[in-house]
C-alpha cells in the first residue's frame, strides 16, 4: 500500500533557510588563500575553539575545545583570534544578497537567514528551486564562502532541510514529498525538540518526524503543550511561525563583559576593567537613546566563581560620569582583597527611552543637565577620534594593556596592519583580501 501524502501541493509557501558553513573559519579562508584546505580555528583570544573549518572538524576538533588540546590532536591547525569586525561585514553582505531576491528575509543569526520567496517565480524567471539555487551561487561567487540551503513549506522544515548534506548542501522538500522525506528524519533534528523531548517522544514510540506528524493533534498537545502543537503544524507543512522582518527594538537588558589574562588581584586594575565595561555599555545605551534604572555588576575569580551586586537608581540615567560613582561603590562591596579575578561584567536593565528628565525631589536640575552635556561631548569626541579616546580617569591604567597578555593577546591582522589613515579602532568597512599580487 502506498503511504498517504501529507499534502498534494508542491510549495503553497516557499520558505528557505540559508546557513553559512563554518562561518567564522570560512570567512578567514575566503580572505586568505593560504588558509584554504587547512584546518582553521577561530577563538584564540578566548582560549577555546569558537568555530572551526571542515578540515579541522575532520581532525576531531569540536566547538569549545581547549586550544592546547587542539594543538595535540591537530598539530598543523591554524589558530586565529576572532575578527568579529570582518565577520559582521560578511554577515551584512550575506543578508544583503538574500534581500536582493526577496524583501521578506529574517536575520535569524549572524550566519543564518530565513526568507519567504513565495510568489517570486515570475520575477526571477524560474522555479522556487532555481531561485534558491541562484541565491546559493550568488553568495558563493561574491563572498567566496559556501552556504547550505534548505527549501520547504515552513521555517521548521526549511531548517531541517538546510542541515542535510552540510557543507554546501542544497535540499528542497516540496509538500508532496514530505511523507517520504520525514520518515528518515529523527526527532532530534527538529529545532525546538531538546534531548528531554526526544526521550519523551521515544517512550511513546515516536522516533521520526513522520511518526510525530502522523499522530493526532491532541497527542502533541497533551504531551508537549502549545509548542508541541505549533511544531506539529509546522512539520506538516502548515506555517505557524512568521518571517520576522524587524529586529526587536525594545531591548530589555544590555550587558558588557570582558575577560583578561593573566588574572589580577590589583584592586584598581580590576576596577578599571569594570569601569571600562561600564563605559562601553553606556555608549551603546546612548546610541539606542535609552537610559537604565537598574545596574548589576559581577566579578569572576580565576576559578570561575562569580559574585555580583545590583543597585536601583532613583531615576533612569544614561550618564557614565553619574553612574560611575554607584558602580565603583558596588565594586568595593564585591571585590575581596587577595583574590584573583579574570573577568568583570555589567548588566543594565529596566531600560527606558531617554526623553524627558524626571527630577527627583532632592537633586539639582542644573547638575543633571550638565551631566547630559558631558555625555554628549564624550560621544562626539569618541565619534571623531575613536571609541574610548575620552574616558574616565579611573580607566587610564588600561591604556597600554592589550586585554590578554601572552599568546591569547594576539590581535587580528585587521587591527595590526592598518591602512594609511586608519587607526587601531576605526577601519574601512570593506574586507581586506589577503592576496599576494
Amino acid at each position: 500500500m502506498q503511504p498517504i501524502p501529507l499534502t498534494l501541493h508542491s510549495y503553497p509557501k516557499a520558505i528557505l533557510h540559508a546557513d553559512c558553513d563554518a562561518f567564522f573559519a570560512s570567512v578567514e579562508q575566503a580572505l586568505d588563500p593560504q588558509l584554504r584546505g587547512r584546518p582553521v580555528i577561530t577563538g584564540k583570544e578566548r582560549g577555546i575553539a569558537a568555530a572551526m573549518s571542515y578540515e579541522a572538524k575532520r581532525c576531531g576538533v569540536t566547538r569549545g575545545m581547549r586550544l592546547f588540546e587542539i594543538k595535540r590532536i591537530c598539530p598543523d591547525a591554524v589558530i586565529l583570534p576572532s575578527d568579529y569586525e570582518t565577520y559582521s561585514l560578511y554577515s551584512k553582505r550575506f543578508y544583503e544578497i538574500v534581500r536582493r531576491f526577496t524583501p521578506d528575509a529574517e536575520e535569524y543569526s549572524i550566519d543564518e537567514v530565513f526568507a519567504d520567496i513565495s510568489g517570486l517565480r515570475r520575477l526571477h524567471h524560474g522555479s522556487y528551486e532555481e531561485i534558491a539555487f541562484k541565491i546559493k551561487k550568488t553568495v558563493e561567487a561574491e563572498l567566496g564562502i559556501t552556504v547550505s540551503i534548505g527549501l520547504s513549506l515552513t521555517k521548521s522544515l526549511a531548517k531541517i532541510a538546510s542541515k542535510q548534506n552540510k557543507p554546501s548542501g542544497f535540499t528542497c522538500i516540496p509538500g508532496y514529498e514530505l511523507h517520504n522525506y520525514l520518515k528518515g528524519v529523527a526527532t532530534d533534528k527538529v529545532c525546538g525538540f531538546g534531548p528531554n523531548t526526544v526521550n519523551l517522544l521515544a517512550k511513546r514510540g515516536v522516533r521520526t518526524v513522520l511518526d510525530y506528524v502522523r499522530q493526532p493533534e491532541h497527542f502533541a498537545k497533551k504531551l508537549l503543550g502549545k509548542i508541541g502543537v505549533e511544531l506539529w503544524h509546522e512539520l506538516r507543512g502548515e506555517a505557524v511561525y512568521p518571517i520576522i522582518l524587524i529586529q526587536k527594538s525594545n531591548q530589555y537588558t544590555l550587558g558588557k563583559t570582558k575577560t583578561f589574562t593573566p588574572p589580577s588581584n590589583d584592586r584598581e586594575f580590576v576596577r578599571a576593567q569594570l569601569l571600562r565595561n561600564m563605559e562601553s555599555a553606556f555608549i551603546k545605551l546612548r546610541r539606542h537613546k535609552l537610559r537604565a534604572k537598574t545596574i548589576a555588576i559581577y566579578l569572576t575569580e580565576s576559578d570561575y566563581r562569580t559574585r555580583g551586586l545590583h543597585a536601583e537608581l532613583s531615576r533612569g540615567s544614561a550618564s557614565t560620569t553619574e553612574v560611575s560613582v554607584t558602580v565603583s561603590g558596588l565594586f568595593d562591596h564585591v571585590f575581596q582583597a587577595g583574590k584573583c579575578y579574570r573577568r568583570t561584567g555589567i548588566v543594565l536593565s529596566e531600560l527606558e527611552a531617554d526623553i524627558e528628565i524626571q527630577h527627583d525631589l532632592f537633586e539639582d536640575p542644573c547638575k543633571v543637565k550638565g551631566l547630559r552635556e558631558i555625555s554628549k561631548v564624550i560621544d562626539q569626541v569618541n565619534e571623531l577620534y575613536g571609541k574610548h579616546t575620552l574616558h574616565l580617569g579611573s580607566t587610564v591604567c588600561l591604556k597600554s594593556f592589550s586585554q590578554h597578555l601572552g599568546d591569547r593577546g594576539d590581535v587580528t591582522s585587521r587591527k595590526m596592519d592598518t591602512l594609511k589613515g586608519e587607526n587601531f579602532r576605526q577601519h574601512l568597512n570593506i574586507p581586506i583580501w589577503k592576496v599576494d599580487v
Binding site: 580572505l31 588563500p33 551584512k92 553582505r93 544583503e96 544578497i97 550568488t138 561567487a141 561574491e142 563572498l143 567566496g144 591602512l419 594609511k420 589613515g421 574601512l428 570593506i430 574586507p431 581586506i432 583580501w433 592576496v435 599576494d436 599580487v437
Partner: protein, 126 residues
Amino acid sequence: MTLRVLGEIRAGWPSPAEEELIDSIDLNEYLVPHPSQTFIICVKGDSMIDAGIHPGDLAVVERGRKPEHRDIVIAEVDGSWTMKYYELSGKTVRLVPANGKYAVIVPRHELRVNGVVVAVLRKIKK
C-alpha cells in the same frame, strides 16, 4: 564626503547655482559601485606599474564579476595568484602584465578569475 557636480557659472551674471545643481554622487558610490561584493587588496608587486598600479596601492576588487577583454583581474593561475590584464583572443586567455620585466602568462592547467579590479586608491596623507 560628497562630490558635487555644479552647473556652469558665468562671471558677471546672476547665477541660480542651486537650481543648476545636478545630481551628485557620493565618493563611495563612485569608487565602490557594488559594495556587497567589493574587497580591498593591498598591492605588493610591480607587475602592473605601467597601468599606474604601484606597490602599496589599494586595489578595489569586485568578486564574482565576469571579466571582459582588457579588464585588470585577480586570477589564480596553476596554483598561484596574480593581477594582470585579462586578454581574450578567440578562445584562449592570456594574462598580460603592464611591466616589461614580466612575461605574459598563458594558463597551462587551471585559470580561475576571482575578481575584477574596478578602482585603485593611493592615499597620500593621513
